[in-house]
């Protein structure tokens, strides 16, 4: 079960945060994000893309200046989550055309809508790019 997804740049600034299946107050989120991001930024390329934090396992992947982090519970397949991040980025690429940090900042709602198509209630529901982008592109038209 996926618990949260964060997009954070390499300065540690949050660009997008989405929580699934559990609700945290603003303060709890702030604390959690601070710790998770600090741990993530302190890791090097020579380390694996997973680490444990409190009850979560965090899987992250870096694209240029942007880190994508997903917090999952113990039951999840880390490699699959790692690939899910990539799949998500591919969808974003297809939608924005070479997605960059600024795209996400300018149109955060689109990123949310795309994520809503792919992840619901903490489960990976759909990774078919055509399926995912259909409603989003209708909205743009």
């Amino acid at each position: 079960m996926i618990k949260f997804m964060l997009m954070v740049n390499k300065q540690g600034q949050t660009r997008l945060a989405k929580y699934f299946a559990e609700f945290l107050t603003t303060d709890e989120r702030r604390a959690l994000e601070g710790e998770v991001v600090r741990k993530c930024l302190s890791r090097t390329d020579k380390q694996c893309s997973f680490y444990e934090h409190r009850q979560y396992k965090v899987v992250y992947r870096r694209y240029a200046s942007l880190f994508f982090m997903i917090g999952v519970d113990d039951d999840e397949n880390e490699l699959a989550i790692l690939e899910f991040i990539h799949c998500f980025v591919e969808v974003l690429d297809k939608h924005f055309g070479q997605v960059c940090e600024l795209d996400i900042m300018n149109e955060p709602e689109m990123v949310h809508y795309i994520l809503d198509e792919m992840l619901l209630g903490g489960c990976v529901v759909d990774t078919n790019k055509a399926n995912v982008l259909e409603p989003v592109q209708l909205l743009e038209g």
Binding site: K46, S49, L79, A80, L120, C123, T127, N128, N131
Partner: protein, 918 residues
């Protein structure tokens, strides 16, 4: 991009004021993007919130820009600021006819609120009408919002509409409706609340056959959750799941579901997870899915990470279901490339998967010893931690020492609370199961307490104390020396470098254990009792904030120490009984003064327990020596009591005349605690009470014969041994001698509490193993496993202890052999070190086999005996983990499977190494 351009053009047309406002969002994004520090960001957001407050409360609010406001609000909340003033505005925008505004408002609400928020009630009407909308995008949006926001009290309002949407022509709607139902199911998992009588899973089963794969995938998610909570009702779906998996793996889904040319990998992984849950502990089910699992495993390849992910999931499933030798072999084979891979991610998964396989087949790890050692030494924490987990699973009596050393090394450097707690739990668990000797157990646990005492549960401390008590004087002596050394290290550091960094204080648990051991066996120390006394007192100076519990235990320890070393006339007794304020004339010098000071302080302490213990100390020490030594007998913690003796202690017949006298004098009759509770409960129910409160039971000064009855249960248990010993022996003396101190009421109070404490006559013995869940295997097995676990205690005799000791010597012998062999072939010292480590970790069973082949030594027989017992212990642990009730035949098969195979493989694996030695 284009839409934004159009917006700008539209903005240009509408005039300058609008233009200025339009740029607010862009400015915000720009400002956030450019800011350099968190403080600057906070300042920008605070300004933004002010602006938004102003804009949103403006009656001439431009509704067409609702979407933008919503997104700005989302930004503010995302960056950690409270925007609750705007929640109601977001609710209003949710009913906006413009789909962009509506979607943004719903998104904001799902980000801001959760299903327990009262505001959601205001959204229900909007939500219901949106669920019935003709525009499928709006229906989808409403369903997503429902999946997050609808709570248990609102489910019934929405449920029928959502069920209706399951037949929507658009697959996007059906998919989201399934997941909304899934969410509703989680709100009421047992179908007892609002969803009583609703058959959600019937819908899920129907949707599993939907013609669109994405809807099927959503139904899989929902069913996965249902099966996780209870797999039994879903066993009949196994053929469906296997056939879906088969079709997916055979590439029957449309190409658009591929991901890097792997057919719908996420659906495959979901199916594998479901199959694992369904097959665990179910032989028939597991056999049905075996062929498909093998096929999925063979079809995936590690050319791309996603292929590795599928392989990993297959291995996880194979190790979770009822063990199948063919599948296990295939799984072990498929993970070897992971372990050899340069990628840390793959090695991490490989180690995790290997841990799963090792739990079923302990020999599996030996094939990959080099890789495992590499991972153990890797600088990456995550990888190291996983490897430690693997070691935990492959621990046997023979390699426990190396493994606990490794874990402890990690514990000493690690600072993460969660991980520390986990490691402490694992080490104490392993030590209890596989300790080669009592002395090792004692030193290991003490070390664990020292390093991570704040995470040790009290049960472990009790077991440690009990184990020490069961041993002979030699071990008592060494434990005393060890603990004195520990205290010395504390004191020494403090004296040597007072200005240095604050030294790590000993945790409370270990202090309690030290107090008990030094009190009980301090007289065995190889130094004068006065030195022991000074060490004990150093606890006070080095731990300024020593809790009252520690102080209490310290007092009792001092009492016992004094009693064992000549009573009041001995050096310790003299020091303790010095009149307060005298300048150390008696015996102890400054240290004696300190002791007397402590006693004096406690005599006047506000804490009644401390006061009581101090009074006991003075009273006991003033007894004539023969009485004292029978009150606090030397080394009697392990004493056996007959049932009659215990019954006598429980009923306290010698107090009867006292009680009758008190009753005759008009004292209130005894009320059992339950009755007392009911009485106070009544009083509370009535509200205010006007009569006086009865005196609190613990406030009554108790007879000196009871050491600590008013202490917490746990605390009392720690020195239960000494207490019950002294009570029973004092029983006769008490009435004649200390009855004066005991008021009748105290006698009454005393009775139930005594029953409570000594009601379960805890005789010393390996009772901790009885507390393990009853195993289903035969008596022989369980006896074997407890014998192996019982670190050679009195019950097991010297047999297992010597056998495991022999095991370690033969094994370390093998290690030395291989090292000398490799030394001749020029290998660096580092390699030799690694080899030695490998031999001690993996080479044990091989060593055993080799020993069995070369010389039938007397040590050989007990080793064999301990081998299967380990296997069974492993297996039973495995089963407990899965929480399944496996048939006993499962165990038999496991045994048949593993033992011979394991020995073969191990000899094969370790053969060359030991061969080179000879």
């Amino acid at each position: 991009m284009q839409s934004k351009l159009e917006k700008v053009v539209a903005g240009l047309k509408t005039g300058p004021r609008f233009l200025k406002e339009l740029r607010e969002f862009d400015n915000l994004v720009k400002a956030i993007g450019e800011c350099k520090s968190k403080a600057e960001e906070d300042r920008i957001i605070t300004q933004e919130l002010e602006l938004l407050k102003q804009r949103l409360s403006d009656p001439k609010l431009d509704r067409s820009r609702g979407k933008e406001y919503m997104i700005r609000l989302i930004y503010c909340e995302m960056l950690g600021h409270d925007a609750s003033f705007a929640y109601v505005k977001a609710l209003q925008f949710a009913s906006d006819p413009n789909i962009h505004t509506k979607k943004a408002a719903y998104l904001a609400l799902t980000q801001f609120l959760d299903h327990n928020n009262q505001l959601v009630l205001l959204l229900v009407n909007t939500l219901l009408s949106d669920l019935k909308s003709d525009n499928y995008l709006i229906v989808c949006t409403a369903l997503v919002a429902a999946t997050k926001l609808i709570g248990a009290d609102l489910v019934n309002a929405v449920y029928p509409v959502v069920v209706g949407r399951l037949r929507h022509p658009k697959e996007h709607v059906r998919k989201k409706a399934v997941l909304a139902l899934h969410w509703f199911g989680q709100l009421d998992p047992r179908r007892e609340g609002p969803l009583a009588g609703v058959e959600l899973d019937k819908h899920f089963r129907t949707m599993l056959c939907d013609k669109d794969p994405s809807v099927m995938s959503a139904a899989l998610c929902a069913l996965h959750e249902c099966i996780r909570s209870d797999p039994r009702p879903y066993k009949n779906l196994i053929p469906s799941f296997t056939s879906i998996l088969k079709q997916v793996a055979e590439h029957r889904l449309p190409k658009s579901y591929d991901y890097h040319r792997f057919p719908a990998p996420f659906i495959q992984i979901k199916l594998l997870k479901i199959l694992a849950l369904l097959g665990s502990g179910d032989r028939a089910a597991s056999e049905n899915m075996a062929a498909v699992l093998l096929q999925a495993l063979r079809r995936a390849n590690s050319s791309h990470t996603i292929g590795s992910a599928i392989i990993y999931e297959c291995v996880r499933t194979i190790t979770t279901i009822y063990p199948n030798p063919q599948l296990l072999a295939a799984a072990a084979e498929s993970i070897s490339p992971f372990l050899l891979s340069p990628s840390h991610n793959l090695r991490y998964t490989g180690i995790t998967a290997l841990a799963g396989i090792t739990a079923l087949n302990p020999a599996a790890a030996a094939e990959h010893q080099v890789a495992v050692l590499d991972c153990l030494e890797d600088p990456d924490d995550t990888l190291k931690l996983k490897t430690l987990e693997l070691l935990y699973k492959m621990t046997r009596a023979s390699n426990i020492q190396v493994i606990t050393d490794k874990m402890m090394g990690y514990l000493a450097t690690c600072s993460d609370e969660h991980i520390r707690r986990d490691i402490v739990r694992k080490v104490s668990d392993l030590a209890e199961r596989y300790a080669p000797s009592p002395a090792w157990f004692v030193s290991t646990l003490s070390e664990v307490f020292r390093l991570g005492g704040e995470h040790v549960d009290e049960g472990a401390a009790h077991r440690l104390v009990r184990l020490i008590a069961e041993q002979d004087a030699g071990l008592h002596g060494s434990a005393v020396e060890a603990y004195l050394g520990l205290l010395e290290a504390q004191g020494g550091e403090g004296a040597g470098a007072p200005s240095a960094a604050p030294k790590k204080k000993l945790p409370e648990t270990i202090l309690l254990v030290i107090c008990w051991v030094l009190g009980e066996y301090g007289h065995l120390a190889r130094r004068p009792p006065a030195a022991v006394l000074s060490r004990l007192l150093s606890i006070l100076s080095s731990h300024k904030a020593a809790t009252e519990r520690v102080r209490g235990c310290l007092l009792t320890a001092l009492t016992k120490l004094a009693a064992h070393t000549g009573g009041a006339a001995g050096p310790v007794g003299a020091a303790l009984l010095q009149p307060h304020g005298s300048a150390g004339g008696g015996g102890g010098g400054p240290m004696g003064r300190e002791a007397a000071e402590l006693v004096h302080q406690c005599l006047n302490s506000q804490n009644l327990e401390l006061q009581q213990r101090a009074h006991e100390l003075t009273t006991l020490l003033s007894l004539p020596p023969p009485l004292l030594s029978s009150a606090l007998p030397v080394d009697a913690a392990c004493e056996e009591f007959s049932a009659a003796e215990l019954a006598e202690v429980a009923t306290l017949p010698f107090l009867d005349p006292l009680v009758t006298r008190a009753l005759a004098a008009g004292a209130a009759p005894y009320l059992p605690p339950e009755a007392r509770g009911a009485k106070t409960g009544e009083a509370q129910a009535k509200g205010l009470r006007f009569e006086a409160y009865e005196p609190a039971p613990y406030a009554v000064p108790l007879a000196s014969s009871s050491t600590s009855y008013s202490a917490g249960v746990n605390d009392a248990r720690l020195h239960l041994g000494s207490t019950s010993a002294s009570t029973s022996t004092l029983a006769a003396a008490a009435s004649s001698h200390t009855a004066a101190a005991a008021t009748p009421a105290a006698g009454n109070q005393l009775q139930p509490q005594l029953v409570l404490k000594s009601g379960g006559p805890r005789k010393w013995g390996p009772a901790q193993y009885e507390s393990e869940p009853p195993s289903q295997h035969t008596a022989g097995h369980s006896a074997g496993s407890s014998a192996a676990a019982a670190h050679g205690t009195a019950a097991a005799g010297a047999g297992p202890a010597s056998s495991s000791a022999a095991g370690t010597t033969t094994q370390s012998g093998g290690g030395r052999h291989s090292r000398s062999g490799s030394g001749s072939a020029v290998v660096t010292a580092q390699n030799a070190e690694r080899e030695r480590l490998a031999a001690s970790l993996f080479g044990t069973a091989g060593g055993t086999a080799a020993a069995a082949a070369t010389r039938p030594s007397p040590a050989h027989r007990p080793q064999q005996q301990s081998q299967p017992s380990n296997g069974s212990a492993n297996a039973s642990q495995q089963q407990q983990q899965r929480g399944t009730a496996a048939a006993p035949s499962a165990m038999d098969l496991l045994m048949d499977l593993d033992v011979p195979q394991q020995q073969q493989q191990l000899t094969a694996a370790v053969g060359p190494a030991s061969g080179s030695g000879r």
